[in-house]
């Protein structure tokens, strides 16, 4: 669907749609439905968390102290900021300010990288401490190690799946950035950027829930 720079309409209409409006509305509805499926996917993990936190509250409180709240909070701020930059990118394309779209999309991707780098340090720190999922758990300082490993399994599964989605988001945003540079979008056609932005907001929102549940247990 490359925008035809030569046509009068600057909107690349696909043949089975009868109008640009219909095409845009359909794309957005499709994306929202997809986001709903992602929420349900993570939902299973939140239930896993909920069940085991309910069954072992003290253990969760003790085990979570091994997580670094400062790094988690920093990552939260980074992601929130990245949601802002992607929203600014959309605002910019609505006004045909291509330079600012490129800057803001790039900033968003940089934030995603920072997030992943911080996660890398968190993960390697855990590996050194032996705080690994399941069979690989090797830490005696945690109270009740046999049970405690469940907390770390949950931690790795939830942040791991979230991390995979951050990577997917980066790829999507990167591809959008390339298309912006190629001049495929304009103030009349920027739906893919909106859809990518929506996806990125979801990735952010999931982290907003993950962070307190894992890092801020009182």
């Amino acid at each position: 669907m490359v925008a035809n720079q030569m046509s009068n309409s600057r909107f690349p209409l696909v043949s089975h749609f009868s109008s640009p409006h219909q095409q845009v509305e359909a794309s957005k509805l499709g994306m929202w439905l997809f986001l709903a499926t992602e929420i349900l996917l993570f939902g299973g993990l939140f239930v896993f968390y909920g069940v085991y936190h309910y069954l072992h509250p003290e253990l969760f409180k003790a085990a979570h102290r091994f997580l670094n709240v400062e790094l988690g909070a920093f990552n939260t701020v980074v992601l929130l900021f990245s949601s802002l930059t992607v929203a600014l990118a959309i605002h910019a394309i609505q006004q045909n300010k291509r330079k600012w779209v490129i800057i803001n999309l790039s900033l968003t991707i940089v934030c995603a990288c920072i997030f992943l780098v911080v996660k890398y340090f968190e993960y390697t720190h855990k590996f050194h401490q032996g705080l690994l999922p399941g069979y690989y758990f090797r830490n005696a300082t945690v109270p009740d190690p046999d049970q405690a490993q469940v907390f770390f399994s949950i931690y790795f599964m939830m942040t791991g799946l979230h991390g995979i989605h951050v990577v997917i988001g980066m790829i999507v945003l990167g591809w959008l950035l390339i298309r912006v540079i190629r001049g495929e979008f304009n103030s009349q056609y920027y739906v893919p950027i909106e859809l990518g932005g929506l996806y990125w907001h979801l990735v952010d929102v999931i982290w907003i829930f993950l962070f307190p549940l894992l890092y801020l247990i009182r």
């Binding site: 043949s15 089975h16 749609f17 009868s18 219909q22 509305e25 359909a26 509805l29 499709g30 439905l33 997809f34 709903a36 499926t37 992602e38 349900l40 996917l41 993570f42 939902g43 299973g44 993990l45 239930v47 896993f48 069940v51 085991y52 999922p133 399941g134 069979y135 690989y136 046999d146 049970q147 490993q149 469940v150 399994s153 949950i154 599964m157």
Partner: protein, 543 residues
């Protein structure tokens, strides 16, 4: 008064059929099929794949039934037997009946019935198909690599400890789940955004309502299966301790997770079948459907309530009595909308001009067999009865009555119904009737006796059994061969029609929906010559 058309040169449609290529001939060559974006071609490819797996899984069923001819070993060891019934179940559920009607007939007919040129996202549609094929390859690879023997339900802790390629198989199912999600997503957006001008929600054919309700379930429930299987695989690989009691986990938690998807999944299986029946009953009674809104809303009601009843698979799992009672009550509730449909269909037939063409024979089979299947579901919903019947052949009979007697009958009826649109040919009514009767007889012979066995205590999935069940098992085995032969006749009948059948007219059944009134047989590539507009409901017979 049919759907009023704005401008169509219908009189010259015969000339157009001769002159104009249809969707099958519009472009040629393997690549034009492999990279097609045409919903009709994609639907046809799905149909061929799905029926291939139907016959494969059917052969596993015949092997299982053959082994059960005798109370002790006949052909195979116990472990092989376990693998065969697992494969029968897993292939039938994930490769045949869940994608089933939506991916094949849904893809083909839904845009036509809506007056649309295609689904909302044709590229996603093709992607869905390839995801299905990749999932199927993974499943085949898992089977070859070390067939699993867990049953299609993968219960922990056995699935965590048994040999065989559990992780590969659940990966296959995980992948197939995405095919299902994307199909559902595509249909929801298509129904919301691509209806023909003038087609309000309550002027849509009921087939569309049924597919819409199915799509809601596909989109909402399948991700939960995905995460459940991911957790199962990771527990097997890393020992995270969610389901395995030795590691501090809870095996009943697996059942909750698994059935949270798999119960709504059975409504993914039946709702499309019911959707087809609405079309068949009204067309072959040439009468306006009775209670259009009730049928439409009952589909949505089934979709919603289906999420609330998963615990009825777990009455004896150790869940609390209170949970059992609540799930039992909600399960009674979910039967009500299905019952409403049955009565509405029967009322539609009353004083209708009934035509016993082959699709109608399958629809009538559905009414009879699904009623039995659905009713026995309500029996199983009664806690005190389920305690005795859980994990017996009674349950096996119940779900085969609804899945085969229900969904498969509707599926085959739908294939015969839309066959003229898909192929431009008419099949032999004589052989269609013979096959339908053989399937009906074979089905009942196979499965009715299983209700009896189950209520006398014959457990399911058992390789050996007590002597007192021998005769009943033998009836069932003979029935299964007759059933298989009947389906084989269906296949022959349809394939023969492609080679030698008469050319089909545009509207052989005098239906009033856009898929028959506004299209040629076979359908042209872009579906319609001119965008249809709609001014009335879809079933205004005799008005």
């Amino acid at each position: 008064m049919s759907h009023t058309i704005e401008s169509i040169e219908f009189e010259s449609s015969i000339e157009q059929e001769n002159a104009e290529p249809n969707y099958l001939t519009a472009s040629k060559g393997l690549k034009s099929w492999m990279f097609t974006l045409d919903h009709k071609r994609i639907g046809l490819m799905y149909l061929i794949s799905i029926f291939t797996f139907f016959f494969v899984a059917g052969i596993f069923a015949l092997l299982v039934r053959t082994e059960l001819w005798r109370p002790t070993k006949l052909l195979m060891e116990a472990k092989t037997y376990n693998q065969f019934f697992t494969l029968h179940g897993a292939i039938m559920v994930f490769l045949v009946i869940v994608p089933g009607i939506p991916a094949s007939l849904g893809n083909f007919a839904l845009p036509l019935q809506l007056g649309a040129k295609d689904v909302a996202f044709p590229r996603l549609n093709l992607t869905s198909y390839y995801i299905y094929v990749i999932g199927a390859f993974f499943a085949l690879f898992a089977i070859i690599n070390g067939a699993i023997d867990t049953g299609w339900t993968f219960y922990a802790p056995y699935s965590l400890n048994t040999g065989g390629s559990v992780i590969l198989m659940v990966t296959a199912v995980f992948i197939l789940g995405f095919s299902s999600i994307f199909t559902g997503l595509n249909f929801i957006v298509t129904v919301h955004k691509l209806r023909a001008p003038g087609m309000t929600w309550f002027r849509m054919p009921l087939f569309v309502w049924g597919m819409y309700a199915t799509s809601i379930i596909q989109v909402m429930a399948t991700p939960v299966l995905a995460i459940t299987l991911a957790l199962l695989a990771i527990e097997r690989g890393l020992g995270i301790g969610i389901f395995d009691p030795i590691l501090g986990g809870d095996p009943v938690l697996f059942q909750h997770f698994f059935w949270f998807y798999s119960h709504p999944a059975v409504y993914i299986m039946i709702l499309p079948g019911m959707a087809i029946i609405s079309e068949l009953i009204t067309t072959f009674s040439q009468k306006k459907i009775f209670g259009y809104r009730l049928i439409a809303f009952s589909s949505i009601a089934i979709a919603v309530i289906s999420f609330l009843v998963w615990g009825h698979h777990m009455f004896v799992s150790g869940q609390s009595e209170l949970a059992g009672m609540v799930f039992s009550a909600l399960t009674f509730l979910v039967a009500v909308p299905s019952g409403i449909k049955i009565f509405n269909w029967i009322s539609t037939m009353h004083k209708g001009s009934i035509s016993l063409k082959t699709p109608m024979l399958w629809a009538l089979s559905f009414l009879f067999l699904f009623s039995i299947g659905g009713l026995t579901g309500v029996f199983l919903a009664v806690l005190s009865i389920d305690v005795h019947l859980h994990d017996t052949y009674f349950v096996v009979a119940h779900f085969h009555y609804v899945m085969v007697g229900g969904t498969m009958m509707a599926f085959v009826g739908g294939i015969y119904y839309w066959w003229p649109k898909m192929t431009g040919k008419m099949y032999s009514e004589k052989w269609g009737a013979i096959a339908a009767i053989l399937v009906f007889l074979g089905f009942n012979l196979t499965f009715f006796v299983q209700f009896l066995m189950g209520s006398h205590g014959m457990p399911r999935r058992y390789y050996n059994y007590l002597e007192q069940f021998r005769t009943m098992h033998q009836f069932s085995t003979v029935g299964s061969y007759l059933l298989g032969f009947g389906f084989f006749l269906v296949l022959l009948n349809l394939l023969h029609s492609v080679a030698r059948g008469e050319r089909a007219p545009a509207n052989p059944w005098h239906a009033l929906t856009l898929d028959f009134t506004q299209t040629s047989s076979p359908v042209i590539e872009h579906n319609f010559h001119h965008q249809p507009t709609v001014h009335t409901g879809p079933y205004e017979y005799g008005e």
